[in-house]
């Protein structure tokens, strides 16, 4: 999907050499597909090191470990992917869905059920999760999008809760109800391509392939499972970038701003909204399946997947990180999961007091502070800071912006 060699063609600015400037060139490249792919790749593979602080950098500098744990990055990615897709719906199209837990959760169960009953392939489980979430998002979207505003939100919420109660009670034969479902409940754990155990470390993999022994500190090591999650995430980010740069990016943004006018230029608003919903469902499916993978051998519970609070979490992740941007939802996922899973376990220094279930209170404070200070989320705040730096150090002036826009269209022919 991203094997496009002319990637930069669209955004290259035709300027004379004396106008060129490193800052400007970086700004010009920032929107390119190749840049997004590389940044996503670096990001997902650097994240475990930063969060788990294996090198003890933060420990040395500020005497405080970030305290991440091995499973955290996978959870961040699974929620991050959902939020990236959710942003297409909320940030662009302006549709506030409270039902994405239904899509996320169904995909998690689908991936698990598929792996236990059909074939225990992690890759195919991801596909199964995506297929189920996509098929489910069609009728939910079709029925909900006919209403707008609050009614849309409540309808999506209703569909989500219907699935939650089904999974909890009547559907227990399938989901194991309140006891939780164990995905990849297979002897010896799930394998990738039939031979790679998902919990195998990359050092083991390296040894098996090359016969050489590689020694890494524990934290620097990564599991095969994380690499799969990381690669799926990179692909998801590149696809999301493509969608944003396709006609859909413009049309969905226009629908968010002035729906009636979109109809009056001759576009079928309903079908585009439905597509936005289904596309966000595809991402929710990928995220849900990765979530199930991270729970291999553990359990998937309706409260953590299908419950409406999870839908609210996707809203918070997207809003805190920054709606309308590609990186925002991912940043939001890092912040959210970090507070939920790490800060929760912190004992306030000098006391016996543990944050514990107060994490939601803390999250609420973070949400209020971020949304008050930066209406466009953390990423919005960072990028307006970045704009100011570019203004300061870049040669770009306002006069040149139109030139860029023109080249954007004509650059490829």
């Amino acid at each position: 999907m991203s094997d496009d060699t002319e990637t930069d063609g669209g955004t290259t600015v035709d300027v004379t050499p004396e106008e060129e400037n490193l800052v400007d060139r970086l700004v010009a490249a920032k929107d390119g597909e190749r840049f997004v792919a590389v940044a996503a790749f670096v990001g997902v593979f650097a994240m475990p090191f930063l969060l788990i602080d294996v090198l003890g950098v933060f420990d040395t500098l500020i005497g405080l470990s970030l305290g991440g744990f091995v499973g955290l990055p996978t959870l961040i990615l699974s929620f991050g992917i959902v939020a990236v897709g959710y942003n297409i719906l909320l940030g662009y199209t302006g549709l506030l869905s409270f039902g994405h837990a239904a899509l996320f959760g169904s995909a998690a169960y689908a991936a698990g059920i598929f792996s236990n009953n059909v074939v225990a392939s992690p890759l195919l489980a991801v596909v199964a999760g995506i297929v189920v979430a996509t098929l489910l998002s069609w009728p939910i979207g079709f029925l909900s999008i006919r209403r707008s505003g609050v009614y849309f939100a409540v309808l999506t919420l209703t569909f989500g809760q219907m699935l939650y109660f089904y999974a909890f009670g009547p559907g227990s034969w399938l989901t194991n109800g309140d006891d939780g479902y164990t995905p990849f409940d297979v002897a010896g754990g799930p394998d990738l391509f039939g031979s790679l155990a998902m919990d195998a470390s990359i050092t083991t993999l390296f040894r098996d392939v090359t016969g050489l022994t590689l020694t890494l500190t524990d934290g620097l090591d990564m599991t095969v499972g994380y690499m799969l999650a990381a690669l799926v995430s990179v692909l998801a980010i590149v696809v999301a970038h493509r969608i944003i740069k396709s006609p859909y990016g413009l049309i969905l943004k226009a629908i968010g701003q002035n729906e009636q006018r979109v109809a009056f230029v001759g576009l079928n608003v309903f079908r585009y909204k439905l597509m936005a919903f289904i596309l966000s469902g595809v991402f929710a499916g990928a995220g849900g399946a990765l979530y199930a993978l991270s729970k291999a051998g553990l359990t998937v519970h309706p409260n953590a997947t299908l419950y409406w609070v999870v839908s609210g979490d996707f809203v918070i992740i997207t809003a805190v990180g920054g709606v309308g941007s590609l990186a925002g939802p991912l940043i939001g996922a890092v912040v959210f999961e970090y507070i939920r899973l790490v800060v929760q376990g912190i004992t306030v220094p000098g006391t016996e007091f543990q944050i514990g279930s107060l994490w939601r209170l803390l999250l609420g404070v973070v949400f209020v502070v971020v949304v008050t200070l930066f209406p466009d989320g953390i990423y919005g705040g960072l990028s307006s800071l970045g704009d100011r730096l570019v203004e300061r150090f870049g040669a770009a002036t306002d006069d040149r912006r139109p030139v860029e826009e023109v080249e954007e269209t004509g650059g490829d022919d």
């Binding site: 396709s246 006018r261 009056f264 230029v265 576009l267 608003v269 079908r271 860029e404």
Partner: protein, 256 residues
């Protein structure tokens, strides 16, 4: 259908809101290539009439034919796709998009239909869309402002952007709802010139709702006068000016 050259025909078009009949049994024929004005006092049903034809409202009774095809009760986007476009009275634009993105939205729809499954294609490679958009931006003299966010345009420019969006839909028939409302005399002049120019160059049929009599007598080929939802006159400007019914119902207090 009876006349080869008619582009729009309404037959017994009626819209009731509860007990109020906003549009009452209107038979109106618009000839291809003409500039037709619709005038009438406030509440005469002008806007309702436009909304019925362009699909925002469904008529209670009657039918609308465009270019020989029945378009009654079609969705707005279907009607636009057939070649009926509308410029709104209050600039209905996309505020947080650039001028260029605004116009390209309309060009996208005109060039590529009402829906496409192309979410992985790159819109910066749609040169046909870019070309149409550029042509329309130049036509309304907004080309140099193409990178400006629409919300930051001065009022008159927003209205011109509105017209550019309507033109980028590549209509055969364009409804203009008070295109000069709220404009300064200079802006009004420029806009009237623009309407005349696009009418001439693109061979458009224009249906114009306007209050400014000077503008109407300058550009309209024929004038339909609505009063309380009914057409009370439908003739050339000179004939309308001399029509006693019109004088009494509508123009009584107006200096012509």
């Amino acid at each position: 259908m009876t006349e080869m050259s008619s582009i729009l025909e309404t037959d017994g078009l009626t819209k009731r809101f509860g007990g109020l009949t906003a549009v009452d049994d209107v038979d109106l024929t618009v000839e291809s290539g003409e500039t037709r004005a619709i005038i009438g006092p406030n509440g005469a049903g002008k806007s309702t009439f436009i909304n019925l034809v362009t699909g925002l409202l469904n008529p209670t009774e009657g039918s609308v034919r465009f270019d020989g095809d029945d378009i009654t009760r079609q969705e707005p986007h279907e009607i636009v796709q057939q070649g009926v476009s509308k410029s709104f009275q209050t600039a209905s634009i996309f505020p947080e998009m650039t001028v260029q993105e605004n116009v390209r939205m309309a060009a996208l729809a005109a060039e590529r239909g009402s829906f496409r499954f192309d979410f992985l294609s790159r819109r910066d490679r749609l040169t046909d869309v870019a070309d149409v958009a550029e042509e329309k931006m130049r036509a309304v003299d907004l080309w140099s402002d193409r990178a400006v966010d629409a919300q930051n345009l001065p009022y008159g420019d927003k209205r011109r952007l509105e017209i550019a969006i309507a033109l980028a839909s590549e209509p055969a028939l364009l409804f203009m709802d008070e295109p000069t409302a709220g404009m300064s005399p200079e802006e009004t002049d420029a806009t009237v010139d623009l309407v005349e120019q696009v009418q001439r160059e693109l061979g458009l049929t224009i249906v114009l709702v306007e209050h400014d009599m000077e503008i109407i007598f300058r550009i309209a080929d024929r004038i339909a006068v609505l009063n309380r939802g009914s057409v009370i006159a439908d003739a050339t400007p000179d004939e309308v000016q001399g029509d006693p019914d019109v004088q009494e119902a509508y123009l009584g207090g107006v200096e012509l």
